[in-house]
Structure formats: structure tokens, C-alpha cells
Amino acid sequence: MPLDAGAGRLVACLGVLIAALALASLAIGPAPIPPWLAAKALVSDQGSASIIVREIRLPRMLLAILIGGTLGITGAALQGLLRNPLADASVFGAPQAAALGAVLVLYFGFAGALSFVLPLAAILGALISIGLVVAIAGREGGTVVLVLAGLAIGSLAGAATSLAISLSPNPFAITEIVFWLLGSLEDRSMAHVVLSAPFLVLACALLLGTGPALRALTLGEEAAASLGVNVGRTRLVVVAASALGAGASVAVAGAIGFVGLIAPHLVRPLVAHDPARTLVPSALAGAALLLAADCAVRLIPSGVEVRIGVLTALLGVPVFLWIIARRRGELVGAVA
């Protein structure tokens, strides 16, 4: 089928794009290093260039690929599960809920910033939020129910986080947590990669296996079940994996929204809208988007680096509104 060649080409193009952006990510920064030297410094000792590239920029590049990829595939899987192009972990309030879990652990002193307890708490927070939204809106719920439930849960988690911050005994902690919540990949080390990678890779692997079920869900839950799909298990896997991905991302990089919402939209028309074949290109597009955003925040001239979560929200919200505007007829119909 010509579609396959198209999907293959798409994956190859995105791969090349990611490689180019990854190299740019190693080269760009306060001390610019030419790309060829950055590549050389990665594999052989080039003095201070090697220290900058390996210690500072490599973890950041790896985290952008891992987190962006996970956000992308999570968005694609949630949109497939709920048959709704507005679904995404961030629309479900998952980053806020994950942040709440992490904040509770950090600022009430249960664990340090590099403990595995942190991602686990964040994952638990995300699991509760996504599980709640899917339970409320999943079966028959339309777009309006979905967005409203996500908004409510996100707001609640945000308010609880604010409460936790305001009760925090340490004033420095308040500044630190607020900046962390904005989302950033600055000053991350290989320890952060090691902390998050197992969860992120597991989340991606779980979601990759749901492709055929998501494709069958195009026909609705009953028809999918009649085709032999275990709809309940699919729902559980997608929710759990999305929570793993959102929780692990938030634990090391703070809240980065809208990448998961946008990435599937960019690739879907190129794979004939097939929910199964949207998964891998969405992951790659998400990785490319986050790498590009992380390069962009280093290039924007400002005193302190613009937070990547702020940038993705600034760019993502207009896209979100554009999708809503395109589906306005359906939304109005659902309210009436």
C-alpha cells in the first residue's frame, strides 16, 4: 500500500530532523560551540568543550528527546482511546496533579530531589487525575465533558499545590518550586536522565502495544470488543502509561504542556488518520518539538532563560484554540 511507504518516509524524515536538532542542542548555549566540534567533543576529549557538551548539554538533549517523545505518544494514545482530538495528559490536569504529588513529597521532606520517590509520587498524582477524567468522560462523554472534567481536576490540583507552597516553611523553597513548576530542562544532569528514563521508556513501550486496539476503537467500544479487543485492558494500559509518562516528565522537568496535544495533529494527516500508525510519528514529532523548544529558549535574548513550559504553552494554547474553533459546531451541538 502506498500509505506504508508514506509512513516510512515520515518516520525517516522525523529521524533526520531529530538528529539535526539534537546536534543543534549540543551546539547552542551561552558558550556556542560549532556543531562539528560539539559532535567531536561528545565522542573524544576536546577539553572544556567536552565538559560542556557531555555534562551540561547532553543530559538536556536526552531529556528533551525522551520527554518530548513520551508526551507525543501519550497524546496520540489518549486521543485514540477517547476518539477525541482534544485529549492530552495536560488537558486532563495530569501535569498539575503530578506536580502536586512531587511537591507534597519534596516540601514536606519525605525525600530529596533525586530520589525515586519523587517520580513515583508524581506518577501517582498523574494516575489519579487521568483516571478520574477517563472515568468521568471516557465512556459516553463528549468533548465538553472531557475538557470540563480536565479543567476542574487541573484547577483543583493547582490550588492544592498553591496551598502546599503557601504552607511551606522555607521561603527559598517557594521561589524554587514556582520556577520548577514552569517547566525547564536547564541544569539537568545524567542523574535526572537515569531517574526518569526507566519510566518514560516503559510508558512508550506500553503505548506502542496498544496500536491495533486503538485502531479498532475508531468504530466505538462495542464494535472494537466484537473484533476481539479487550477494551477494558486497553483503557487501563493507556491511562497507566500516560500517568507514568506525565509523572516521570514532571518529576525531572516540571510541567510541559501541549506538546502531547499538538504532535499527533501534525502527523495524523500524513498517516491517513490511522490511530495505530499515528503513535510512532507522534513520539518523534514530540521529541522534535521539545528539542526545538529547548533550543529556542536558549536563543531568546533575556536575562534569565525563558522556561520551556512557558514557551510550549504560549505556542500550544493558540493551537488548542484553533482545534476548538474548528470543532465548534460539534461543541455547540453537545451543549444543546
Partner: protein, 262 residues
């Protein structure tokens, strides 16, 4: 097509607190097209869903041959029983060929990985519903009738010995209603078990080998159309006064007025 009897024994189904089906005993034999009729809320859709193994009975059981449908492995059941739901949901603008290819999922086939048998089944299903030439059209851009036929083709592509179709002709124009019912009858007469739910009684009488009349979760009557669809039964079950005349090839049933309740 080798086919087994699909049978329900003492079948009861509860949805929440409501008893939707009670004490149904019915057997669907290969070679016959059975059309289920009855007023809204009679339990027709629930009967089809339970026969398809999608709803757990609260009492009794459904068997295909000797195998209880509930206990069959999902993929075995999906290969044995094709189910066409009523809602006609298509969430993404998949090309028609990819939509129909979903019928091959029970065999582990995907649109990009089809066996020669799968490819042939899809071609044949598209030809049966008259959608050859529509393969690359996005399913969401089809008319209601074309979409209904594409979804039927999806069910046909499974090549299951049992086909359960919930209102397969509801959205179709008269010509395509006839074409689809001819496909269903052809499938039955080739040895399949085919059960369809319909509201058009005249059309049902023209195509059904057997009519199953339901109300209140029970089967009121079953048999040849002329024996089941009498003016007295229509009055008792549907609450309508109807003129029933028999003619070559079926009945003409004209509802005249709704009778007052009680």
C-alpha cells in the same frame, strides 16, 4: 461455509437494576435469515449484544455449537461472530479500505499486513455492498448510506459464520435497503447464521425466513412472517391499528393509527 447453531437458553440479562431480557429460549440455525422486530425498548439490541458475547447474561447462556460464547477466547469469538452495532460510529477519517480492513483484526491482520485471503475478503466485501471505487475515500466524508454500507463491509470482511446486524438498513435509501437485505439473505442462504434487527415490518416480511417478535424482554412470537405479523399481534405488541395484506413475496403492513394506551 460450515456453520453451527447459535442458541440462547433461559437467557436473562440485567442492565443496572433493569431486567432487559427474561427467560429467552431461541435457536438461530444456519441457512436462515432471522429478522428481529419489536417496539423500542423491547430488548432487541441487548439480545444481539448478548448473542455477540458483549454482555454477560444474569441467567442462562448463549452457545455457538457446543461452545458457550462467554467462555470463548476473544479472538475465537471475533472470528466466529461478526457484530454490526447500531450507532455507526467512525471517529477518524480512515480511508474506506482501512475501515473495512478492521474486519481482519480477529486474524491478527492489519491494513498494512494483509494475507492474500484477507485482501480477497476485503475486495469481496466491498463488491457485495457496492463500494468498489470508494477505497481511498475518507469514511467520515461518505453519505450516511455509504457509511452504513462500508461498516457492513467491515463486518462481512471477517467472514464469520454468524453475522448479527443491528438496524443495518436504517440510514439507507430504498434501493440500498434492498441491496443490503439481499446481501444478508444471500449470506444466510449460503449457510450462515444471520440475525438482523429492523423496524420496517413490510421489508422485514419480504426478506426474513423467520421473524422474531419481541416486547418487554421476551419473545412473543416466532416463525414465518405471515404467521407472526398479524393485525392482532401488531395491535397487542406495537399498540397500532394496521392493515396487513399479503402479496407475492411478502406482506404489506400499513400502520393506520396509534391506539390509546391501556
Amino acid at each position: 461455509m460450515t456453520s453451527l447453531v447459535l442458541a440462547a437458553r433461559d437467557l436473562g440479562v440485567r442492565l443496572g437494576r433493569r431486567e432487559v431480557l427474561r427467560g429467552l429460549d431461541v435457536a438461530f440455525r444456519p441457512g436462515r435469515l432471522t429478522i428481529v422486530v419489536g417496539p423500542n425498548g423491547a430488548g432487541k439490541t441487548t439480545l444481539l449484544r448478548t448473542l455477540a458475547g458483549l454482555v454477560s447474561p444474569s441467567s442462562g447462556n448463549v452457545t455457538h455449537g457446543d461452545a458457550p460464547v462467554q467462555a470463548m477466547a476473544r479472538s475465537d469469538r471475533a472470528r466466529a461472530i461478526a457484530y454490526l452495532p447500531q450507532n455507526g460510529e467512525v471517529s477518524w477519517p480512515l480511508p474506506v479500505r482501512a475501515l473495512v480492513a478492521l474486519g481482519r483484526l480477529p486474524y491478527g491482520e492489519a491494513p498494512e499486513r494483509l494475507t492474500p485471503a484477507g485482501r480477497a475478503a476485503i475486495e469481496q466485501a466491498l463488491a457485495q455492498v457496492g463500494l468498489l471505487g470508494f477505497e481511498d475515500r475518507p469514511a467520515t466524508e461518505l453519505s450516511g448510506g455509504e457509511r452504513g454500507r462500508a461498516l457492513l463491509a467491515r463486518a462481512l470482511a471477517t467472514k464469520a459464520p454468524v453475522l448479527l446486524a443491528d438496524e443495518p438498513v436504517a440510514a439507507l435509501d430504498p434501493r440500498h435497503q434492498l441491496l443490503v437485505l439481499e446481501v444478508l439473505r444471500g449470506l444466510a442462504h449460503a449457510g450462515g447464521v444471520v440475525v438482523a434487527v429492523m423496524h420496517d415490518l413490510s421489508l422485514a416480511s419480504r426478506f426474513a425466513d423467520r421473524i422474531l417478535l419481541m416486547t418487554g424482554g421476551r419473545i412473543v412470537a416466532e416463525g414465518a412472517p405471515a404467521d407472526v405479523l398479524t393485525a392482532e399481534r401488531l395491535e397487542a405488541v406495537f399498540g397500532i391499528e394496521a392493515a396487513v395484506s399479503s402479496e407475492a413475496g411478502g406482506l404489506t403492513i400499513t400502520p393506520r393509527r396509534a391506539l390509546p394506551v391501556g
